[in-house]
Amino acid sequence: MGEVIVITSGKGGVGKTTTTANIGAGLAKLGKKVVVIDADIGLRNLDVVLGLENRIVYDIVDVVNETCRMKQALIKDKRFDGLFLLPAAQTKDKDSVTPEQMVSLTDSLKETHDFVLVDCPAGIERGFKNAIAGADRAIVVTTPEISAVRDADRIIGLLEAAELNDPTLIVNRIRIDMVKRGDMMNIEDMTDILAIDLMGVVPDDEHVVISTNRGEPAVNNGETMSGQAFMNISKRIAGEEIPFLDLDVQDRFMDRLKKLFNFSK
């Protein structure tokens, strides 16, 4: 029996879809059977980020309305053995699916996959309620910004009210240089308010933009910091204990030179 994990945030644009795609690919690389579900009906993105949009014939609304069988809607990713995508519909909206339908969908996928990752849309209304309906646990994604943390706090409250207790946290797009200058929230500030366990920290990395535009998950490139961070998160979800990356390593050459000559503050 697999596990259904919803990846949510409240705030839009913090990296839920990117995280879902990368954790999905990462877990597949570790040999797991994974299906990623795009629950953002009407504004689908998971297919684009995975580079699979040209292969969509059926989507989640078709499955729920029994226009097609689940197998017909699932898209097998040829680059990652064991990774499947259930895309959202683009021409419908979030009222096309009910929470009850989501539960039966995820229940049936749980039986044939190790991990079912649900990419939750932004907000707290029907899209959110659909996405969390069948979940066994939740991962909350946030960026180190007050507005994102405020929304994450609200979402955690709603998750706890829905009895999805002990969600874990991923801090995305952190910039260690700004944190050191005091211009950006640090991890302790965030866990102080959010009071949940940290699952991973992903640095802000140009490579994510580049790889998204290519439709290739960043996790494929183990040389980049973001790729490593996402792979570590995948390993932690799979049960391994991995220490957090030392993000200081990404000092630029000039900073290192400055440090050498004691010019930096």
Binding site: R150, D151, D153, R154, G157, L158, A195
Partner: protein
């Protein structure tokens, strides 16, 4: 003649004996009570040739000014429907709908004064953004109040943690209420009808603090 109480509609008088009073709900037939019924019928018949198409399709919702026998009601009803093409829903005396009287609320609102000894609500755990606690007494929170969460108490508020959201003590008007927290950093603090917020500068509190009202200002002091 029937009283000229206006019901906010137009009045089309046929002659003095019978008048059609128009209202939003339909036509009320006003009749003189001092003449014989036959005279009313004659007056109606006189005018039916000149006015009958004017009222076609209109609704008769009642009568006024003259009490009618059942036989008289049916005679008139027949003229209205057959000759005037009107829809007769009622020939009974028209009773305007009673306007609901707005009863004044009983003045019961006593200000909560249990600030020394009073009913208290205990909340365990952190209040996350979006949660709201309202209570007609004192509130004690064993946890943090995160930004976006609020506590509205008619009495005092004590926080065993960081107050980062909104706290409103003395919400019923009692300005003797206080707010205490281990870290007092609210987005907004209200006592009674006074409002204040944390200063923009400064590093934040270094220890437990209490907020209370003095000379109509909210004062904040270290507490322990």
């Amino acid at each position: 003649m029937a009283s000229n109480r206006s019901l906010g509609g137009y009045r089309v008088g046929l002659n003095n004996l019978i008048e059609f009073k128009g209202t939003k709900k339909g036509i009320i037939i006003q009749m003189d009570e001092n003449v014989a019924f036959a005279a009313v019928v004659d007056a109606l018949n006189e005018k039916k040739d000149t006015s009958k198409n004017f009222f076609k399709g209109a609704k008769v919702i009642g009568t006024e000014g003259r009490s009618l026998l059942p036989k008289e009601e049916s005679i008139l009803a027949e003229i209205f429907s057959k000759e005037f093409g009107m829809l007769v829903t009622s020939m009974r005396p028209y009773v305007p709908p009673k306007r609901e009287e707005v009863k004044p609320k009983p003045v019961e609102n006593k200000m909560f004064d249990g600030l020394e000894e009073g009913i208290t609500k205990f909340v365990r755990g952190t209040l996350r953004s979006g949660r709201s606690i309202e209570f007609e007494g004192n509130v004690v929170v064993l946890g943090d109040i995160n930004p976006g969460a609020q506590v509205i108490a008619e009495g005092n508020i004590a926080v065993f943690g960081s107050l980062r959201g909104v706290a409103h003590a003395g919400a019923g008007g009692n300005e003797s209420a206080w707010v205490v927290a281990q870290r007092l950093q609210p987005t907004q603090l209200r006592i009674g009808s006074l409002i204040t917020r944390s200063p923009d500068d400064g590093d934040g509190p270094t220890g437990p603090e209490i907020a209370y009202v003095k000379d109509r200002n909210i004062m904040i002091e270290p507490y322990l």
